[in-house]
């Protein structure tokens, strides 16, 4: 009997209308599931340098290995595509989402879905256990994601059906388009789905997920609930956002998160009038309640309901960009977030583009005429709404922007390009890379790019100059955190935001932790290992051991911390193999010149910029620790063999993308 996994991949060809299944076998399970499993399927089903609009390009939807096993926090799904948003490299694009779709797919009997081909007419995929049907989507084509979900549930006649869908932005091949489920979407993957004329994947499952040790699962869950209750007693409110207060907004108000404008300022929030505006405009009055994911009793997504507007989640991502637009009107930012969730587009990409345009207009690089007369004054929310709408429906200047900001910058000229800070076409948003070397390294090196997944927490949380109250960490636990760093990485600098020393090792630990969580389908706040005093520490032991014990209870496969760390290495290596196959090298593991040249203009980080020599030295160390070639950034055969990935090494070798044999190190 298969435990944990369903043991099956659903394969759909939209060109022929044929569906079939394939076993989720030993080779595949090397990469667990979720993000890693999707990467494996992507490796199998995609071609080198494939266009996102190639009908054969795969769209892969997967559930985490532990999704549906009843373990608290294992609800996550993953969507993997040839990225349209990474306009300069394409290759791997992925996004993880919580809520209920992933467990529902397991109950329907599948670990993941590979969709290839392209339909002539708009369709959606309807899955009810073994019944898989490609249905006409003309009734919902053109609709926003909110209505689409409701209408498709009604069409299914089953309000328990789970819907992942695109909005008008995805239909219109806007590169910033998302796939939406449960308000959770982030990084854009929607255009690749729209290109297939695929509106939605609707899943309903009534089957069972087998687990090896049901009593152990219940016991783990019981203990976790007790831990959270204890933490709450010990530290006060355990879930940072349970009152509708948003940790990230708090981070802005009192801490050190975020840059202002198009990397134009850091000091703006220190102005008393701004602080007051944020505090007074905060949407606390409109907080309804927290909602969350399937099988997690600690919901963390605050739902706000603005009168006359409607409800939406107002969480970390939407709250960190208003100041990029110099905005103090948070209700406008909330409305824009809701609008873009409904249009199915990434509000961070759009907001960053608007921030860039405001900057360009300020300098006279674009004119009001270029922008159809929309007033791009700093702080004015109107251009955000107008730009989102025009991009989604490809009207006016929005049509060009929908091809990505790089294409638009090319039209405007060199100066516009110089002020566009992007990674492979994805905008760089809110981190101050100039002051945070670990964040910078993660951004440059992660397979997907634009990767919170790679760069959060240990490498950025501690040691910031402005950490005067709450910046996402609990200062009472700083000493424990530093002690942990000394033990793990030999220096506490490894987890201090502004230091270079020890960063590559800390970053790898962090990236691997994220890879494990994303591949098991685990909530990243729950098993991010070794995180002391940071969000998520209310869950107590969040170590790899925590994940290992639970993995064994669900699957029956004996495992430990070392084995999971190795699995994470495999996930990071299959992703590296994909992007290397598609052209990535050491030279393109890079960041815009800006972050090395222009110092932070003001605020507590004033004068800081990345040191190129130290940055390149971090890369040396990173490649060495990963077992990759220092000169080229390519993987070594021995490294892949050791990880049980000889098959991957063979294919890379055939493509001439393996590190040259010979000296190690």
């Amino acid at each position: 009997m298969t435990y944990g996994w369903s043991g099956k991949t659903l394969q759909v060809d939209l060109s022929t209308g044929k569906t079939s299944t394939a076993p989720w076998d030993k080779d595949a399970k090397r990469f667990l599931g979720g993000r890693g499993g999707n990467a494996w399927l992507f490796w199998l089903h995609s071609k080198a340098n494939q266009s996102p609009y190639d009908p054969d390009a795969p769209v892969i939807l997967g559930s985490g290995a532990l999704a549906g096993t009843g373990l608290i926090g294992t609800s996550r799904m993953e969507v993997t595509v040839v990225s349209a948003a990474k306009t300069e490299s394409h290759s791997l694009g992925n996004v993880g989402m919580g809520s209920t779709w992933a467990p529902e797919l397991k109950f329907a009997g599948y670990d993941n879905i590979v969709i290839k081909g392209r339909s002539e007419k708009p369709v959606y995929l309807n899955i009810v256990n073994d019944d898989v049907e490609i249905r006409d989507a003309s009734g919902v084509w053109g609709k926003g994601t909110f209505d689409t979900e409701t209408l498709l549930k009604e069409e299914a006649g089953d309000m328990d059906a789970q819907v992942a869908c695109i909005g008008p932005a995805g239909e219109n091949l806007v590169v910033q388009a998302t796939v939406e489920h449960g308000y959770r979407s982030g990084t854009p993957v929607g255009a690749s789905v729209g290109a297939k004329k695929l509106k939605a994947v609707v899943v309903r499952g009534t089957g069972a997920v087998n687990v090896h040790d049901p009593d152990a699962i219940l016991e783990h869950n019981r203990r976790l609930v007790e831990t959270v209750k204890d933490t709450k007693k010990r530290l006060g409110e355990a879930i940072p956002r349970s009152d509708g207060k948003d940790a990230y907004l708090q981070g802005f108000l009192v801490g050190d998160a975020g840059v202002v404008g198009n990397y134009e300022s850091h000091a703006w929030r220190d102005r008393p009038d701004v602080r007051k505006a944020y505090e007074e405009n905060y949407l606390g009055d409109y907080f309804e309640k927290n909602i969350g994911c399937f099988g997690c009793p600690f919901p963390c997504q605050p739902l706000f309901d603005l009168p006359g507007e409607g409800a939406c989640i107002w969480r970390c991502y939407p709250t960190y960009w208003p100041w990029k637009l110099w905005m103090t009107d948070l209700s406008a930012a909330f409305k824009a977030t809701r609008l873009m969730t409904d249009l199915g587009m990434d509000n961070k990409e759009v907001a960053t583009i608007v921030s860039w345009l405001m900057h360009l207009r300020d300098m006279g690089v674009v004119t009001d005429e270029d922008l159809d007369g929309v007033p791009f004054d700093k702080g004015n929310p109107e251009p955000l709404f107008e730009t989102a709408r025009r991009m989604a429906y490809r009207e006016g200047y929005g049509n060009a922007l929908a091809e990505g900001p790089v294409a638009y910058a090319k039209k405007l000229g060199d100066k516009a390009m110089n002020y566009l800070y992007h990674n492979q076409g994805l905008t760089m948003r809110t981190f101050e890379f100039r002051a945070e070397p670990g964040t910078a390294l993660g951004e440059a090196i992660s397979a997907r790019g634009n990767s919170l997944r790679a760069t959060t927490y240990h490498v950025v949380l501690w040691g910031k100059p402005a950490r005067d109250d709450y910046a996402g960490v609990d200062p009472r636990e700083m000493e424990d955190s530093l002690a942990w760093s000394r033990e793990m990485f030999g220096t506490e600098k490894a987890i201090m935001a502004t230091e270079y020393e020890g960063k590559p090792a800390a970053l790898i630990y962090e990236m691997n932790g994220a890879a494990i969580a994303d591949s098991l389908g685990y909530c990243v706040t729950m098993i991010r290992p070794g995180r002391v005093g940071a969000p998520g520490s209310q869950f107590g032991d969040a170590s790899y051991q925590f994940a290992a014990e639970r993995f064994t209870a669900a699957t029956g496969i004996p495992t430990d911390e070392a084995a999971l760390f190795e699995a994470a290495e495999r996930v990071c290596n299959i992703e590296r193999a994909i992007v290397v196959r598609d052209g990535r090298t050491r030279a393109t593991d890079a960041l815009p010149e800006f972050f090395f040249e222009e110092p932070v203009p003001d605020g507590p980080q004033q004068g800081k910029r990345l040191d190129r020599k130290l940055f390149e030295k971090m890369k040396d160390e990173y490649y060495a620790l990963r077992g990759w070639d220092r000169e080229t950034g390519l993987q070594r055969e021995a490294t892949l063999r050791k990880l049980g990935m000889a098959d991957v090494a063979e294919k890379l070798k055939a493509a001439g993308k393996l590190a040259p044999a010979g000296e190690e190190g």
Binding site: M159, L218, N221, I291, G292, P297, A311
Partner: protein, 167 residues
């Protein structure tokens, strides 16, 4: 004999996580299968508008219509726990219990074709243990009233605090 307890539902506290369904199916079937859970969270959701949830589970009625209606006497009350329990051998799967139940507390198990319903896990309901926000509680009968009243009074107490602060 200790006083019987009641599985109390406070719908305002439910966050819709369905952990109760997971726990129920794991405990009763050894697998994770919400479709065979004895408790079911009904979602009233419209994305972009509202998300409300109501956990539905047998309330072990004082005058259980299911017991009265059952033509094969397959349903009876357990004197220890007060739960209405199913005699699988006697049940013929006629669904009359499901027809007469006022709250959908009993149904026919799709896997076994006999009636299935909450039996309070023999006096230690599994679902309650994971309900962090205490939408589900297991309360002695004689404190049921005060427990619910206390919970509902919380809003009023906030109002008093507000009035106090305005004084």
């Amino acid at each position: 004999m200790t006083l019987q307890k009641v599985l109390q539902v406070d719908i305002e506290k439910c966050v819709g996580c369905r952990m109760c369904e997971v726990a129920c199916s794991l405990r009763n079937t050894g697998r994770v299968q919400p479709s065979r859970s004895r408790i079911k969270v009904i979602g009233y959701e419209r994305r972009g508008e509202y998300h409300n949830y109501i956990p539905m589970v047998c309330q072990q009625c004082s005058t259980p219509l299911c017991v009265e209606a059952c033509p094969t006497n397959a349903l009876s009350r357990n004197p220890e726990t007060g739960a209405i329990v199913v005699d699988d051998d006697a049940c013929v799967g006629c669904r009359v219990c499901a027809m007469v139940c006022p709250i959908g507390g009993v149904s026919i198990d799709p896997a076994t074709d006999v009636a299935y319903k909450c039996d309070l896990c023999g006096g230690a309901p599994e679902c309650v243990k994971y309900c962090y926000y205490e939408a589900l509680t297991y309360v002695p009968k004689d404190r049921l009233d005060s427990s619910l009243k206390r919970s509902k009074s919380e809003k009023l107490s906030e109002l008093f605090a507000l009035m106090e602060s305005l004084r």
